[in-house]
């Protein structure tokens, strides 16, 4: 084959041009409700990076070494969500037990994450695009960072908007969606920046 997909290209693409939130609309629910505050957004964003970077390779292992050998690919939806839920639960318990400050800043966001569609989305994309283990890890990490950047940027903008005059019907989700639209356009502009070949 004449040149293949480089893992590094996927890493950068998943942060910028193919930002999981801005091009695939994944993780919108928590994005809209949490992005009001910069501090909470940062906490949730870091938690998302962590969970995505770990569950994506984890699901890769489960898929390649458990589901495929037994011909159970069609059960992947259930299995992935169980893996994610169990992993999040375990991490929460571990953090709570060993580090009180970390739990206060990060742990409280973990339950919110199980219902974040972006996490499951990344695992499903990883399967359909037939990534290798290493690429899956970079893809998970990159998507997490991309989500993090999107939410803190949005939180920063929304804090500035607090004093702005907005038409009453647009307040809250309306204006957030419009800003997200502009951000999506801006992020598309990154496509010329990374030379792949």
């Amino acid at each position: 084959m004449n040149g293949s997909i480089t893992p590094l290209a996927i890493f950068f693409a998943s942060i910028f041009t193919g930002n999981i939130l801005l091009t695939n609309y994944l993780g919108m629910c928590s994005f809209l409700s949490v992005s009001k505050e910069l501090k909470t957004s940062t906490g949730l964003g870091v938690a998302v990076i962590f969970v995505m970077a770990t569950t994506t390779p984890l699901n890769w292992l489960v898929y390649q070494h458990l589901l495929i050998p037994f011909g159970l690919e069609y059960l992947r939806f259930i299995v992935f969500i169980i893996v994610i839920a169990a992993f999040v639960q375990l991490t929460e318990m571990t953090i709570e037990r060993y580090s009180e400050p970390l739990y206060q800043s990060l742990g409280i966001f973990l339950p919110l994450i199980t219902v974040n569609c972006a996490i499951l989305g990344v695992s499903l994309f990883m399967v359909i695009r037939e990534y290798s283990f290493f690429t899956s890890f970079l893809f998970g990490l990159g998507s997490g960072i991309g989500w993090f950047i999107a939410i803190i940027a949005m939180a920063g903008i929304r804090q500035k908007l607090r004093t702005a005059k907005i038409p009453p019907g647009l307040e809250g989700p309306g204006i957030t969606l419009i800003i997200a639209g502009f951000m999506a356009m801006a992020f598309m502009g990154f496509s010329g920046m990374i030379a792949l070949s």
């Binding site: 069609y74 059960l75 359909i128 695009r129 792949l196």
Partner: protein, 199 residues
């Protein structure tokens, strides 16, 4: 006695319940999966054959039977499936399965070539994972059909401005995917010459 009852209620019952639900769920989905598996495999085959017909520029009725009929009549598998040939009124067509990298994953296509192995008779996407609404638009008919009658190597021009026989429309907002796609299609002619004529 009371203690035993609460133990059952608190520990055993939830486990039993969960186990039962899981078993029922898996039985239902497995049953459905196994009963439709044959159909799904047949669909997959029909999909590939349709891509071959599209690439060769052959006319067919767009049903499973129609695809099957035309495929059996017109298409010959050559060299154990490395390429296919088809006879049409306008001459022989060579159809080559190809794959290459896209932005997100592998793009697999069928390329149909005329006898000079440079002019495209058609092109069909077998699988792709590009961003929906951006690179994913390579699957849209206007994009694949524009290759018909064009001569490789191709140059990309802005969407909607392709004119010369070696120009193809790129997709606005999906520069990367368009470039990857051009690289893939540009390889078709040399690959075909090597495989078919041994050049």
């Amino acid at each position: 006695m009371i203690k035993q009852a609460t133990f059952y209620k608190k520990r055993i019952y939830p486990l039993l319940f969960m186990f039962l639900v899981t078993v029922i769920c898996i039985l239902i989905t497995s049953g459905l999966f196994l009963s439709t598996q044959e159909r799904a495999t047949a669909n997959e085959l029909s999909f590939t054959r349709r891509a071959i017909l599209d690439a060769g520029g052959l006319e067919y009725t767009p049903t499973t039977e129609g695809i099957e009929k035309t495929y059996k009549e017109k298409v010959q598998v050559e060299d154990g499936g490395t390429y296919y040939t088809a006879e049409t009124a306008e001459g022989k067509r060579y159809i080559l399965p190809m794959q290459g990298p896209g932005l997100w994953g592998t793009i697999a296509i069928m390329v149909g070539l005329e006898e000079d192995l440079t002019t495209f008779s058609g092109l069909a996407i077998v699988s792709q994972n590009e961003t929906p609404g951006l690179g994913g638009r390579i699957e849209e008919p206007w994009f694949t059909q524009q290759f018909q009658g064009k001569k490789s190597p191709f140059t990309l021009v802005n969407e909607g401005t392709a004119d010369a026989p070696n120009e193809v429309d790129a997709i606005t907002g999906a520069t990367r995917t368009s470039e990857y796609f051009r690289n893939l299609t540009n390889r078709a002619s040399t690959d075909a010459k090597r495989i078919i004529r041994g050049e």
